[in-house]
Symmetry: C2
DNA sequence: CTCGCGTAGTATCGAGTCGATACTATATGA
DNA sequence: TCATATAGTATCGACTCGATACTACGCGAG
C-alpha cells in the first residue's frame, strides 16, 4: 500500500491509478447513497424501509430455487437472522406470503401477494436517474452498463458471493436437441419464463482469464 | 408516465429505453449494496456502521464552511436529528471532536481526532472494486467516471440537493489578477488546500443545455 | 433404526439508525 | 425589542442488523 515510485516509466496521462479507483469507489458510494435516499422517500408513505423494496423487487424476479430466506440473505449480503425479521414484517403487512415446500419440510417459499405487487409498483420508478441516463448516447449507455456489470461481478467474486443471474448467462444452462431448455444442475426442464428469473445457483459463463503466471 | 408509443420512428436497436434505465438503476443499487456490505464488514471490528465511515470520510475532505451537522445531513441525505446522534456516538468513541465557531454561537465545527484519522485509514480500502477497475482500459475507466459523475449530478439536481464539489468545478470560484484564489460567495481568499476540499455551497459550472427543442 | 451432522429457518437480545416532534440558543432584521 | 430564521440537541418509537441460541427436518453411516 506504500505509495512508492512507479517501477515503469510513468505515463503522465494517468492521474494516479489508485486515485482513480478511490474516485470510482466514492462515486459509486455517493450514487448508492442517493438511490437509497430515493428509496427511503418512496417507501416512507408505505411505512417501508429501503431493504423492504429490495426484498419485494427480488421476490418478483427470482425463480423457485431462490425464493427462500437464505437465498434472500445471500442476495442482500445480510445474515439469515436479520432477513428473517424483515420477512416477518412484510408478512405482517400482508405484502409477502409464505408457502411450504412439498418435498423438503425445512424449506419455505416466499411470494408476493397482490398487495405486495402493488406496493412494488409504487416503489420502483422515482425518476431522477432517467434524466441522467437520457443525457448519454446509445453507445455510452451500453458501455456504462457493461462496465458496471463487470464491476459487480468483480465485487461478488471478491466477496465470495453468488452472482444471481438469469439462465442466459449461466454455465449450467442447457439447450436440448428438441429445442427445450434444461438446467444442467437440477436436471429439470425450464419454461421460457423460468429462464428470465434470477437464480441463486447462477454461475458465470467465462471463468475469466487466470490471474498469475 | 403512461408508456405510449414513441412519437418518432422507433429505432429497433435500442432494447427498450425504459428497460435500460431499470437495468441501470438495478446495477447501481446492487453495487451500492455490495459496497455497503463491504463497509459493514470493514467497520465491524471497530464497532462502526457504514454511515460512520461516510461521516469520517466526509469530515476528512470538507472545508471550514461545511464541517457542521447540517452540512453533514445534507451530504448524507438524512435529517439533522439523525445525524446528530451519529455524531454523538463518534464523539463518545473519541473519533470526532467538536469546536465552537468564534463568530457564530450557533455553529459547531467538527474535525477528525488522530484516532478518527486512524480509523478512517482502516476503513478505506477493502479492494474488490480495484480488480474490476483494473480490467478496464484507461479510456473506458475515464468514460465510466465521467458517466457516473453525470448521473450523480442528475440525481442531486432531481432531489434538489447540493453537489458538494471542490472549487475547481464551482461557479463561485475566482482567480485574481495577482494569481490568488478567492470564493465569489464568501469573498474570502482561499489557500491551495482549501480549493481541494468539499464545499456545501458548491454549484456546478455549466447550467447544462436547456431541455426544450 | 437411531445417532450424528448438516441445512433451513426462527427467537431473542442489545446497539444503533432513522424520522418526527419538540425543544434551546443564537443570529438577523424590521 | 420582538418576531422570525437558523443551528443544533433531546427524546421517542419503529426498525435494522449481528450474534447467539434454538427448533425442525433431511440424510447418511453404522
Amino acid at each position: 500500500m506504500a505509495p512508492g515510485r512507479l517501477p515503469r516509466a510513468s505515463l503522465p496521462r494517468d492521474p494516479a491509478p489508485a486515485a482513480e479507483a478511490t474516485r470510482l469507489h466514492e462515486l459509486l458510494e455517493r450514487l448508492g447513497a442517493a438511490l437509497r435516499a430515493e428509496a427511503r422517500a418512496a417507501g416512507a408513505d408505505l411505512g417501508l424501509q429501503p431493504v423492504h423494496a429490495e426484498v419485494l423487487g427480488y421476490l418478483g424476479r427470482c425463480n423457485r430455487y431462490s425464493d427462500g430466506p437464505l437465498a434472500l440473505a445471500e442476495y442482500l449480503g445480510l445474515t439469515k437472522g436479520t432477513v428473517s425479521q424483515s420477512i416477518a414484517l412484510l408478512e405482517r403487512r400482508g405484502l409477502v406470503a409464505r408457502g411450504d415446500d412439498p418435498a423438503d419440510g425445512r424449506k419455505v417459499h416466499l411470494r408476493l401477494t397482490p398487495a405486495g405487487k402493488r406496493a412494488l409498483a409504487r416503489l420502483v420508478p422515482a425518476g431522477g436517474l432517467e434524466a441522467g441516463a437520457d443525457a448519454l448516447g446509445h453507445a455510452e449507455r451500453a458501455a456504462l452498463l457493461t462496465a458496471l456489470e463487470g464491476l459487480l461481478r468483480a465485487l461478488q467474486r471478491a466477496r465470495g458471493g453468488r452472482s444471481f443471474g438469469v439462465c442466459g448467462t449461466c454455465r449450467h444452462f442447457l439447450r436440448e436437441p428438441d429445442g427445450g431448455r434444461r438446467c444442467g444442475l437440477t436436471r429439470e426442464p425450464l419454461t421460457e419464463r423460468d429462464a428470465t428469473l434470477l437464480c441463486r445457483e447462477h454461475e458465470g459463463l467465462a471463468p475469466a482469464a487466470a490471474g498469475g503466471p
